[in-house]
Symmetry: D2
Subunit: 343 residues, 4 copies
C-alpha cells in the first residue's frame, strides 16, 4: 500500500491535533509541517517523527511528493493557500470557515473545481458517534418526513476578548458548526433564517458588536423547520444535543459523559457533568474525519464534507448576522449571485 | 369546617373531569351542575351524588349558597358568564382561553376586578409535578439568571376538522398553554414573538387558514430568550418537555411514562412510549389545580393563576398569529391599550 | 349493577388505606368496619360514609349482607378470622403473611378450600405498574427462557424496636414480598434457598435475633436461579428494582421518582431521590389489587394471588430463616408434608 | 527521559492488544516480541516498528536492555516465565490468572518477592472509567460503610468447546475478573463464598464439568456482603455493571453504549444495545493499565494490581469451585497455608 503523504500548514492547537491523529493512521506519512513559529513547534514535530519543519508553507506546496495538505492556519490565509494548493494539484483539508467573505470563499471553490482536487471542510461533528447515528436513522426513514430539527450547542466558557474581536462573530465562529449539522441531519439546504440574540453571558461581546446567546430559527428547502440555541457559556461543560422530529417519530441524543456512575443519597441522585469541551467530546470525531479524508484521497472517492457544504454554512451565517442586525427573517437567496449558485 | 359550595357550568369532557376531581376533595360540595344537555348528564351527575342538574346556568348564578363556579362551557360563553358571576359575587374558575377577543377578555377582567371576586384560569400545567419542580429550581436560583427557555409541546394526534375550524387556530388553542408555561418558568412577561410555521401534518389545517407545526421564538421582558416548538401530531404520544438554561446551570424535564421497564435484546434497548395525552399526563395536575382554587376560596388567598396570566397568554397568542401572517417579529406592545395595561 | 358489600376488619394504617381506596370504586359499598379501638376510628369511618363501626369483628362475619371481608388486623388473628369467614361464606382479602406458622396457614387454606370461598393475599407489588410490565414481557417470551432473576428491595428506614420484636424476622416480615415477586416474575416455584445475612444497619436487630441486611439466593423449579438483596435502611428512600435475564434478553425496572427534573451545574447532574416508601411507591398498586379482588368476587373469577401463593412465600421465608441459622442451602422440600403439598 | 524497554511474550489477541497500546505511549520502546509462531507475527510486529521477533522467549529474558516484560502466553507458561523473569531482574506484567494451581501461583509470588521485581496482574477492569469512578466514590466515603456489593458480569457469547475444555472453568476463567472487582470496590478481602450455578446456555458446558450461569454470594472480611451474577451468554452484548450500597447511599454504573441516540416512535422507545465485548468496552482500560504499569516501572512506584491481588482472586475462584461442587458455603481459609498467607 502506497502511503498518503501529508503536509500540515499551521501547527496551533488544531494543527497539532490533526497531526497527532494522522500519525496513528498506518496509511499516512506526514512529510512536512509548516508554521510561522517553526522553531517553537520543531521538538513536538520530532516527537511525532516528522523531521521536515519549515516556516514557509510554500515549501509544502512545492514538494512534489506531498499528496494532500491540512490547512490549519488562521482563517485569513485559507483562500490563498487553497488556490495555490489547487494549482499545485494537492488535495485539501481545510478548517472552517473557508473565509469570512463569501466572494473569497467562492474564489477558493472555483480553483478547487478548476484543478480537480478534493476539498474537505473540517466539520468534525458529522463524524461524532451520536450525530452520525441520528443521520443514519433519518436516512433509514426511521423518523419519516422531517418536520422539526433542534440543535443545542453551548460552549463551556467564552473565549478571551482578543479572540472575540477577530472571531468574525458568533455565527461564523461558533454557530457555523450548528448550521452544518442542521443541514446534515435534515438532508436539506436552508432557505430562511431568523435570529433572536442577546448579550447575557458577558458585556464584552457587546463591545465587539457581538452577542453570546442566540435562538436561531431555520426554514429548510424541504419544508422542515428548525431551531438552534447557542450560548457562549454553559457552566456545566460542552452541551451538544440534537433532536429530529418527523412524521414517524423523534430521535434525540444526549451529551457524552466521562462515566455512568450515579450516586443516590439522602440528598438526591448525583452524577458527573458532561465532557468538558470539543477536545473531549469530539476526540473520536476528529480521528474519523481525518480517516475519511485519507480514504477519499487514497481511493479517489468523494469527500464526505465538501466545499459546497462549507459555502452553505457560511451563507447561513451571513443571513443570521443580517437577521440579527435588521431584526427580521432573512432569506439565503438575498445573498445569491450567479457565481455562488454554481456550487 | 365549612364546605366550599361549587356550581359547575358545562359538563363536557373537561367539566366532568373537574367534577370528578372535586368530589374527592373533602372540603368541597358540588351543589349544582348546568349543561345545555341536562338530561344527558343527569345519570353521571347522580353517580357523583349531585342531584341538582339544570340546563340553565343562571340557576347556578342565582343560587345564593354557591360560593364558586367552574366555567367549562364553550369559549364564546366565558365572558358573559364571568361578568354575571362576578356581579353575583361568585368566585370563578375558568377554562382557557377566556376569549378569542382581547377586548372581551378585558371586559371580563374589569368585572372581576370591580366586584372583587377571585378568577383562576385553567392553566393546569403549572401544577404538573415536573414543571412545578423546574419552577421551584428557578425560584431557588439553582439555574442563576435565566438565559434560555425551551418548551417542547406536541399533541399525539390532530383534532378533527370541525374542531380545527372553530378552535381559534393553533396559537390560542394549543400554544396558549406553552405561552403560560414559558411565563411561569421564566417569571417574566413576554415582549416580542416570532413564528416560523408550517403545515406538515395534515393539509386540512391549511384549509382553515391554520398551521400544524411551529417554532415560536420569545423575547422576555427580563432579557431572557425562549423557544417553543409545537406539532399537532407526535405519533408516539404526548410530548411535553421543558428546559431552563441560565448562568448557573440548566434544568430539564423528560416526558412521563407508564412504567420504567427497559428490555435489552439482540435488537437493542426497548421501552414503552410516553403517556398518551393530557388526561394521562396531567391527571394529577388537574387535581392539584382544583385543590389550589378551593384553598384560595376557602382561605381567601390569591389564586395561583389569575386573569392577568390569562390575558398575557392571549396577548402572546395574538402576537404569534400576527407574526405568522406578517412574517416578522411582533411586539406585544403592538396590542397594548390603556385598558389592557391595567391588569 | 349489584354492589359488592365489604366488611373491613382492622382499621390500622393498612386497613384505612384499603378502605379509602375501596370507597372510590363505584362497584363497592363498605357496610361495616371493625376495630378493637372502635371509638377511635369512628370519625374517620364516618368521613368515608360508613356508619357501622364495631369493636367485634364477629358482627361483620354475622352480617348476612356482607359479601367479602378485608383482614387487616394483626397477623396472629388472620387464621381464626379466615376460618370463621370461610365458614360464614365470605370471600376474603387477607394481608400477608397469613401466619408465622406453616401448620396454621395450612389450616386456613383448608377451610378456604372446604367452604369454596375466594382468598386473595395482599401481595400488592404484583399490581405495580413496573413489575406488572416485567411479568408481561416474560409472559410474551420477550426474554426467552428465564435464567436469572434479580430483586433489589430496601426499605428507607428500620422499623422501631418494638416492631422488630414481633415482626417474625426480616424474612417473613419484609423479604416475603420479594419471595412472591420472584415467583411471580419467574412463573415458577422455588426449590432451594441460601442466605448470607448480616447486621449492618443497627445492632438492635441482633438483640432480637434478627438481621437487617441479606443476600438471598434462590433456585427455581424451572431451573432458573435468582438473588434478592435486602436492607432495612436505604437512606435515599424505597429501593424496589427487579431484573429478569433470559436466553433472549434482559428486562430491568428502575425506581419511581416524584418528578423527572434534572439539574446540571458546575457540580454535576442532580435529580431528586426516589419516592420515599411503600405508600408513595405502591399507591396505585394498592388500588389495583383491591379492584382485582372486587372484580373476582363480582364476576366469580379466580383471584390473581391466592392462598397457594401466600403459602409458598411463607415456605421460602421459613427456608431462608433455616438457611441463615444453619449456614447452608435449604430445600423447600424440607418443610413439605402431605398436607401442605395439596395446595 | 529514558524509555522503558519492553519485551512481549506471546502475541495472540491480548499480546497484540498490549503491543499496539504500548507503541502509543511515548515513554515506551518495544525491544522484542516472542511467539511460538514467530514467522506468523513478524509482519504485524514490523508494522509496529519492532524488528526483533523471536520464537524463544528466553531471548527476551536474556536481553539485558529489556526492563520489563508482558506475559501474554498461555496460562500454563505464566509461572515458569515469572520465576525466570524475576531471576533476570525484569519487571513483569502478567495476564490473569497467574496459574490454575495455588501452589504454583505461590511459587511465582515467592520469586517475585525474592528478586524484588514488580508484578502487575492484568485486571484491566480496575482501570475502566466507570468502575474507577465507583471506587473513588467509595474511597471518598460517599456511600458510607459498605453493606452490599453487586456485580453483573455477562459475556455476549460462549467460547468454543475447545476453549471451555482448557479454560479451567467459569470461576477461574471468567468470574476471576469479578472477584477482583468485588475486592477492589469493597476495599476488602473475601472470607466466604457460596455458589448457585446452572447450565442454562449450552449443554456443552456440562460435558466439560463446567457451568454457564452462576450466582455467587460473597462475604467480605470487613463485614459487607456481595453478589456476582454471571452468564456466558447475554445476547445483547457485554453486560458489565456494578453497584455499591452503603450506610450513606448507593452508587451504580450502567453499561457503555456506542451512542446515545434514542428513537421514539409509535412502537416505543428504542436505542442501540451495549458495546459488544471486552475489546470495545475496555479499550481505554487496557491502555490505562499499561500506562500505570509503565509509570510504576519508570518511577519505581508500587503497581496498582499486584501479585497478592492475583492470588486472592484465584483463592476465591477455588472456593467458588468447591462451593459449587460441595453445594455449601466455603471459607477462603479452607485453602490457607502458611506460605499463602505471607502475601
Amino acid at each position: 500500500m502506497e502511503k498518503v503523504k501529508i503536509g500540515i500548514i499551521g501547527a496551533g492547537r488544531i494543527g497539532k491535533l490533526h497531526a497527532e491523529n494522522l500519525v496513528r493512521i498506518p496509511q499516512v506519512e506526514i512529510k512536512a509541517i509548516s508554521d510561522i513559529f517553526a522553531e517553537r513547534v520543531t521538538p513536538w514535530a520530532e516527537g511525532l517523527g516528522v523531521q521536515n519543519v519549515t516556516d514557509d508553507y510554500q515549501d509544502i506546496l512545492n514538494d512534489p511528493v506531498i499528496d494532500a495538505i491540512f490547512i490549519c492556519s488562521s482563517t485569513n490565509t485559507h483562500v490563498p493557500i487553497i488556490v495555490q494548493a489547487a494549482q499545485a494539484g494537492k488535495h485539501i483539508f481545510c478548517e472552517k470557515p473557508i473565509n469570512f467573505d463569501l466572494e473569497q470563499t467562492q474564489q477558493a471553490l472555483e480553483a478547487v473545481q478548476k484543478y480537480g482536487v478534493k476539498l474537505q471542510i473540517g466539520f468534525n461533528r458529522r463524524f461524532d458517534h451520536n450525530f452520525k447515528r441520528v443521520r443514519e436513522m433519518v436516512e433509514e426513514n426511521k423518523v419519516g418526513d422531517v418536520h422539526i430539527i433542534k440543535v443545542t450547542s453551548r460552549d463551556p466558557e467564552a473565549p478571551p476578548s482578543e479572540y472575540i474581536k477577530v472571531s468574525g462573530g458568533i455565527f461564523i465562529d461558533m454557530s457555523i458548526h450548528d448550521f452544518d449539522i442542521a443541514r446534515f441531519l435534515s438532508g436539506s439546504d436552508v432557505e430562511e433564517v431568523y435570529v433572536q440574540g442577546a448579550v447575557l453571558v458577558d458585556p464584552v461581546f457587546a463591545e465587539h458588536g457581538d452577542i453570546d446567546t442566540a435562538i436561531i430559527t431555520l426554514k429548510f428547502k424541504n419544508g422542515a423547520i428548525g431551531v438552534i440555541d447557542n450560548s457562549r457559556k454553559a457552566v456545566y461543560g460542552y452541551d451538544q444535543r440534537v433532536e429530529v422530529f418527523g412524521s414517524k417519530g423523534c430521535v434525540t441524543v444526549k451529551n457524552d459523559f466521562s462515566n455512568t456512575a450515579e450516586l443516590t443519597t439522602d440528598d438526591g441522585v448525583y452524577s458527573d457533568k458532561p465532557k468538558y469541551f470539543f477536545l473531549e467530546r469530539y476526540q473520536e470525531a476528529y480521528i474519523e474525519e481525518t480517516k475519511a479524508f485519507i480514504e477519499s484521497v487514497a481511493s479517489d472517492k468523494e469527500v464526505p464534507v465538501n466545499g459546497y457544504d462549507g459555502l452553505q454554512a457560511e451563507l447561513i451565517a451571513h443571513a443570521a448576522r443580517k437577521s440579527f442586525e435588521e431584526k427580521r427573517p432573512v432569506k439565503i437567496s438575498e445573498f445569491f449571485t450567479n457565481a455562488v449558485t454554481k456550487y
